[in-house]
Symmetry: C2
Subunit: 444 residues, 2 copies
């Protein structure tokens, strides 16, 4: 099949492209490379070193003999989207190309607006391009289990049959997303569903759980093929972060009681699910939703599993939850559709945890402990990032002062970040002050 | 109370401002005046002549002795939003300031993207400004009954109790919006609900039905105070349009069978509902939804009522439905909360219809028949507007040709519209050709 992977330079997009290419699909990747610029903005980097998109693609061709067509550009640029879809003429488009961090979207107004416009406009442009160029293209869109929130009833796959006042209908499952990022995915889901109805498009919305792991059979074939491994508070996800904390000799920091339960899956299962969705496309006009995870765990359970893997060497510590979410809640979510298509999950066991810990240990010297503790507070409209140093009197918070921030384009935002002028605000002490690490802080 | 009306120059925003001002509230209005530029873009105008915002406000001060503070600016400009909220310090903000036409949002990609970014970003900026400046400000936001679509069960006011697999929860009512405009309102609703949860804001989301009528007790005090009366296919709403068709001697054009049933209300009830919502604010952290309509009618019923008011003079004609919607469907929607606060509705009767017909008749010479028939097709990604003339070979559609349109800023879009180069596309004949009215078409 001809498959175009949007966000093909990212944590999951890159190994997905390799996986599909290794299985003899004709693969193209599209990426704006903006994920790498978030690293510059945040002063963080992948724990595992990654190569440029150009070198990745060249090395893959050397190793596998398969060429991956590469398009660098931004989905919010409609002209680029039309030209790329028209040039590659895919049968399926796998769409990972969104700002994917909840904390990043909650840094401040400008990051919230950026996240929603970037994600929603990119997807709108894509829907129009498909409608205009070839309505038979199957859109495989990455959503998130976080769209559902934590309702007190079972979560179904996208739709729920409701009987009310004696009548029955099957309706979209009600969504209660918990950040401006998660909201952007809910907006996308509604837009895509409408486009399928209005224009007879075909789409699969994959409401993915939290992914763990870094190595895949293809990425393991050469160090140049490694994908990102994020452990920082903004882009890192929980199990990867615990592995890094464990090998770096830090406490495993659990938000609140750690009772938050989430659907999770192994990175290798992400790749398998994407391939299954592509090979079993939605019908004409069909918008379908698969819940893409294999097991549910509470955060406390995950911490315990990591702790058990390094007996006596790891402490679990509860810290204040920076998010607005329930620490303890009912959680039971359906996830049978991908299993029905043949998914054979890699379940989370000691072996997987050991392999994660080994990856983290190999790159222990690259761990920046300042990047791990939460820097973005949901209750605040402006957040202090760990890389920002605020000499009192210059950047320090002025209570009651309203800073008038215009709507900054991304480039200007980055300049401000480089000057240390971004993400400062009235929420009190800086991260360094809170952790007592001021003496080690880099000055901008 | 100090009440800031966003979109205070619009069809409903202006009479709302007058209504509140007449009742001794301290009223400010905010408007970008973009609604007037849509008229320029579309080549249409309000049937009833309207004055500039400046003259409106001056005349109101002469007539009533009350001053309305006026701010001209755009909600997508965060700096303007912060400065305005900070300067006026309202207790309530009534938010009408969105692109409000479903057909306008469906013209093409650029209008869809414009509608969603304009509405979503404006509301995001507002939420941040409230959170930063004064979290006690009550946000009264205009949503639409169209957010719900037409489910096969009763529609409730924002939330529904669902019992599923033996457990029960009260969850947001599932939404099935039918255009990129309606989708933008659904996105807003989700964003506002989250902001209330995360920042303890207070908001009332008014899911309004279709409004009819033009005159209010305050606007009747001087011709300068008149509000808009739109009858064109893009911005006009159904009953107002029927009134104009009737007095202009045209058939009343019903989309499909006319079985589409919608909640409706008199313009005077809109004003009363807004005031009731302001005077009975949502609690801290509360996001509540009121369904703001008073009666439900099918489109065919409305046509019949207008036809009955002018016996023997009016023909009802079914035309192809340009929208993607059900012609016949179940429809029963709750609307008790505003009644519970004391709303006494003006129900639709012969008197109201006669008054609408009289308004239309007074301005019969201003009717542009080319503006009435639907020009935007839901199934197409590009639409031919009635004002566009396409000499074959220059602007005419080239089948299979993909025009690569970049993401145009609004100003550039308007220039293209002025050149006649906008909203042309592969969907065949122009409106003039379809209606045989080419000979009368203005050339751009």
């Amino acid at each position: 099949m001809r498959i175009l992977v949007l966000g093909g330079d990212g944590y999951l997009g890159w190994p997905t492209a390799l996986h599909l290419s290794a299985r003899s699909h004709d693969v193209g990747i599209v990426d704006s490379l903006v994920r790498r610029s978030y690293d510059l903005e945040m002063g963080t980097e992948s724990l595992v070193p990654i190569r440029s998109i150009h070198r990745r693609v060249r090395t893959w061709e050397l190793v596998s003999g398969n060429r991956i067509e590469t398009y660098v550009g931004d989905l919010t640029d409609a002209e680029f989207v039309y030209a790329t879809v028209d040039a590659f003429r895919p049968e399926a488009i796998v769409h990972f190309a969104e700002q994917r961090s909840a904390p990043y979207s909650m840094i401040d107004r400008s990051h919230a607006v950026y996240t929603q416009t970037n994600n929603v406009v990119g997807t709108l442009n894509l829907l129009y391009a498909i409608a205009d160029i070839d309505r038979s293209i199957h859109l495989v869109k990455l959503g998130t289990m976080g769209e559902y929130g934590t309702p007190n009833i079972d979560i179904e796959e996208g739709f729920i049959e409701i009987t009310h006042n004696g009548r029955t209908d099957v309706l979209p499952y009600p969504k209660q997303p918990g950040s401006f990022y998660h909201l952007s995915k809910v907006h996308d889901s509604h837009n895509i569903q409408f486009a399928c109805r209005a224009w007879n498009l075909r789409s699969t919305d994959l409401n993915q759980g939290i992914v763990y792991g870094q190595e895949t059979p293809e990425s393991a074939r050469h160090p140049d093929l490694a994908t990102r491994f994020d452990y920082d508070a903004v882009f890192g996800t929980v199990l990867n972060r615990f592995a890094v904390q464990a090998v770096a000799g830090h406490d495993l920091t659990v938000y609140g009681t750690g009772g938050q339960t989430r659907g999770m899956l192994d990175i290798r299962d992400t790749l398998a699910c994407i391939e299954l969705a592509c090979e079993n496309p939605a019908g004409e006009g069909e918008y379908r939703v698969f819940n893409q995870f294999t097991e549910s765990f509470s955060v406390a359970q995950l911490a315990e599993m990591v702790s058990d893997a390094m007996p006596g060497q790891v402490t679990v510590r509860q810290i204040e939850n920076p998010r607005h979410e329930q620490d303890e809640h009912y959680y039971r979510a359906a996830h049978t559709k991908l299993l029905g298509l043949g998914l054979v999950p890699h379940l989370l066991d000691g072996g997987t945890i050991s392999s994660l810990l080994a990856t983290a240990a190999r790159h222990r010297d690259r761990v920046d402990p300042r990047a791990i503790l939460p820097s973005v507070q949901w209750a605040s409209t402006r957040s202090t990032l760990p890389t920002a140093v605020h000499p009192r009197g210059r950047h320090a918070a002025r209570p009651g002062h309203v800073e008038h921030i215009g709507q900054l384009p991304h480039a200007e935002r980055n300049q401000r970040a480089a000057r240390g002028g971004i993400a400062t605000g009235p929420n009190g002490a800086t991260r360094e002050e809170r952790s007592g690490a001021v003496e080690n802080a880099e000055r901008p």
